[in-house]
Each structure stands twice: as C-alpha cells, then as structure tokens.
C-alpha cells in the first residue's frame, strides 16, 4: 500500500492506514541508521531545499540529516531570511521550483502556509510546522516512539498536558492518536484549552490528576511565556504548581507509563528534574527516532508524487 500524495501537510488528512504505513517505513529506515555507513541511495540525484521562516535547531538538523543519509543534495535557505521577507511565499516557491528542486521543507508562522506553497509548486512540500496548525514530523516520531514502547494504540490511554492552544505538535498528535484508536485525555490551564476541543474526540479535564489517571503515555507541550501571554497565565510558576509532571503526579498513572516532550524542555517547569532523569522519561528515544521518521517521509513522497513521478 502506498500514499498517493505529493505533499505532507499534517495528520488530519491521513488515514489510520497511512499513518501505520509511515511508521513501518520508519522502522525500516532505522536499519540504515544502525549501520556503520549510514548511506542509502533512495534520494540520489534529488535535491531538498530547507525553507525555515522560524527558528529551529532540532527540526532543521533532523531533516538535513535525513536527506543526507538518503544521498540527496541539501540546501538550507534559512540564511537568506532577508530576501525571504521581501518575496511572497508563492514567488519563493516558484524560484525554488524553477531551479529544479524536488522537495521543499517549510516551517512558517502562519497556518496553512505549506498547503498554499504546495498548490503553486511541482516540488513535494513537507510541512515542518505551520503556525498553530500542525507539525507532522514531530507527531509521527512521537507515534513511532509510543509504538516501540507500547506495541499498539488501540485502547491505549494517552494524556496530553499543557498548552494545547499554541501547540501544533499536540494537535497533530490528537489527530493521529484518535485515528489509531487511542483514548486521549487532555488537561492544561483552561485559558490554553482549544475551543471546541470536545469535537476532536478527546476528554477534557480541569484537574490534571484525572487526565493522568491510569495513563500509559503522558505527552507534554512547551510552555513559552511571551509578553502577550500575561492575560492567559499569571506565571510559569503557577503552571508548574498545577501541571508539572513529577513523581507525585506519576503516582496516578500506570506504573510503566512513559513521559514525553517535543523539546526544547524547560527543566523543572513542564517536567521535574527527577522525572526527566528517570527511565520513564523517554525524550532521548524521541530524538533518536526523529531522523528515521523524516527519512520515511522523504522516501514515501519520492515513490508517489510531485516532480518525481
């Protein structure tokens, strides 16, 4: 089975079968990563353009490495941010497309940017994060990590804690987990709950202990305090007091529950030091999977669509 698509925007457009296919492809990619010579010819002769309108360390690195491992040519256009601001996204896309690029990896502060770009280029567009909408790469690696630890998603109890309003990873995870049959509970400061969140098929709890009760997996989000957030949350201290994942809170979850975070993490705020350094927190596994998942995304798109078919 294969995905007939040119681009990857997010998990909302994918079916459960699509997601399972991507995850099993990623597992195969891990074999390549475990070899001494991490090189495979899948993308030989193809070019990957990285277009990040937002800062990022981990995402950019993982896309670059993934493309390099598959023998593609990689060009990072983030330094031309100056010219990027002067040209519209469509024009930028045309520029890259006409020069014969095969893949464009786009991270942009506005929701829907990847879709907009994809409609006017022949290259395959991968959404590396668009505004508050989705981040499929991060979400798929979270799902892969969960699958490795827990086996299957059906009936798995997953708690998503924190800022759901601004977290695109949480949104993608909600789409993915609900499609795969997991039971999702969310909790966070009420000002950060997504309006209409019940329609996403998740249970909402004001008390974090109820959300975490008997959970198999706890996903946390980044809590950033920007100046304009002063009307949403009094302080990170207050977040920590009520929502931080620490040993006291973990007593409500299952004994073998795993704790995850997309990074970068603020130690002691989203998760306590004690839990971060304990074997229950598997952030390192997540990072280890980040390249494999992106390799899978490249490979699948190269088989199916865009200028490559």
């Amino acid at each position: 089975m294969a995905l007939h698509r040119k681009d990857f925007f997010g998990l909302r457009d994918l079916t459960a079968d699509d997601i399972r296919y991507i995850l099993s492809t990623a597992e195969t990619m891990k074999y390549i990563l475990n070899q001494k010579n991490k090189k495979a010819p899948h993308l030989q002769g193809k070019s990957v353009i990285i277009l990040f309108y937002e800062q990022s360390a981990r995402a950019k690195l993982s896309y670059e490495l993934a493309a390099q491992h598959l023998s593609a040519n990689v060009v990072d256009m983030t330094n031309s941010a100056h010219s990027m601001e002067r040209e519209s996204l469509q024009d930028m896309g045309q520029l890259v497309d006409q020069m014969g690029a095969d893949f464009i990896i786009l991270r942009h502060p506005m929701a829907g940017a990847a879709r907009l770009l994809a409609e006017c280029v022949e290259a395959s567009v991968i959404n590396a994060g668009d505004g508050y909408n989705e981040n499929p790469g991060q979400s798929l690696l979270d799902l892969l990590t969960i699958k490795e630890r827990k086996g299957s998603f059906e009936g798995l109890k997953v708690a998503i804690i924190g800022d759901l309003l601004h977290s695109r990873v949480a949104k993608s995870n909600i789409w993915g987990l609900t499609k795969l049959g997991a039971e999702v509970c969310v909790s966070g400061p009420p000002t950060f709950l997504l309006p209409g969140i019940e329609k996403f098929g998740v249970q909402v709890h004001y008390d974090v202990r109820e959300a975490v009760n008997q959970a198999d997996v706890i996903l946390t989000t980044r809590m950033r305090m920007e100046a304009q957030d002063k009307t949403f949350l009094p302080s990170l201290d207050e977040y920590k007091r009520f929502f931080r994942i620490d040993h006291n809170l973990l007593r409500y979850a299952k004994e073998d529950a795993i704790v995850m975070h997309p990074g970068p993490i603020q130690r002691g705020i989203e998760i306590s030091d004690g839990v971060i350094d304990s074997p229950q927190c598997i952030i390192n596994d997540q990072i280890a999977n980040s390249v494999a998942v992106r390799m899978a995304m490249f490979y699948i798109l190269s088989q199916m669509g865009g200028a490559l078919a």
């Binding site: 002063k230 009094p234 201290d237 207050e238």
Partner: protein
Amino acid sequence: MKTILKNCKLITPPFSEEKLYDIFIEGGLIADIGENLHVEDAKELDLDGHVVLPGFIDMHCNICEPGFENIEDISTVSRSAARGGFTSITCEPNTKPVIDNKTVVEYIISKSKAQASVNIYPYGSMSMGCEGTAIAEIGEMYEAGVVAISDGDEFIDSAALMRNVMRYSRMFDLPIMTHCEDRSLSGKGVMNEGYTASCLGLSGMPREAEELQVARNILLAEITGARLHIAHVSTGGSVRMVRDAKNVVCR
C-alpha cells in the same frame, strides 16, 4: 463551661416567633435549642425576650491592613464587625500591597487568627495589582486560602482579560465578584444622572455605566461557565438582567 440563655426570641426558621426559647451553650458551641431547658451546673442568663440572631456575613469589607492602618486595621475592623453582629467578613484585595500573591493572603489569615474576634475571609485579586492588565496568581492564592476573586472597586476594562480570568478560575471553582462600572461613562459623577442632578448642578453617573458592564460580564460568565457575583447592583436594568441570567448572583 456551660451556659443557658433563657427566654430568647428566635425569628429564623424553623423557630416560631410566638414562643420563647432557651439556648444551651457548652464549650463555646451551641449544644441545644429548645423550650424550658435545664442543665445542671449551667450558668443561666435571662434575655427577657430579646432577639437572638445568627451571626451576619458581610461580603464586601475593606480591612485596610496591610497598607492603610491609619484608617483601620484587622483588630479594629473585627471589633466593629462584632459590635454590629457580623461574625464573618470578607476582605477586599485593595490593600497595600494588593492581595495578588500568597504572601499577603497568609499574612491576613494568620493575623486574623491572632487578633480578630470574627472570621475574616480574604479575596484574591483577579489582575496583578488590580491594574487590569495581567492575570494574577490565582492558583497560588487559592491554595493559600482565598474564598473568591475580585478586583475591589476596580473594573477590568479588557474583555479579553476578563474572559481569561473567568476561564482560568474554573480550575478552582472560585466565585468572581465584579464591580461593574465603565469609568469612561461614569467619569466624575457624584450621583445618579437625571433631573435631580441637573437641578443641583452636579455631575451624574448614567445607568448605562453600570448596565453595559453588567451585561458584558453576564454574557462572559454564561459562555465560560464561571461563577459570577455582581457587587452592589444599583439600577433596575441591572436587576432585570441578573434575574434573567442563569447562575449569576448579586448584591
């Protein structure tokens, strides 16, 4: 220590105003209320038909401590309250420093335990400093013991902030006491706007200064599910809106 108050007139249900009752007090608590009580070793006080009432509760008091002790402090306010029959009073957050963090809450609670003869329940502020720009540390204050949140006599102009305060407070199920006054309308008014004010040549406060904000807060409370209490309602229009609203109370 046993005491019996004899011949009391009780006007609260389920007691009848036609009869006289005796109240038996032991160890500082009311142990029994009935007609013609007799207990051995009990000191008897004849109230001769005087009325005995449950202690009153005042939900909007300015304690003035910390910060304004030249006007009033915890010990004087509790003595005034007790004299008037108020056994429980609340404390508006308009102290100095404002009650917007747990330190002030703990100060008031511990000082009240030590010096006050009545119960003093502090309110926490909705916004930092009661300035109406940033949300206050409501969770921290809830854990320290505030019973409700309020900005005293200040009004939060920003609907976005008011909405966020209401949503945030749902985590703790705290009642929200609001002073509804649009200062851009009430301005320097000293009485109700209208014929009398005009005759006297005094600036008036129009009823819309209160009613517009009552309407706004009621709507926000209905949408967010917050527990709204509207302080000192003073117009007929406000009363009508509170009556029609679901789950909103007022004073």
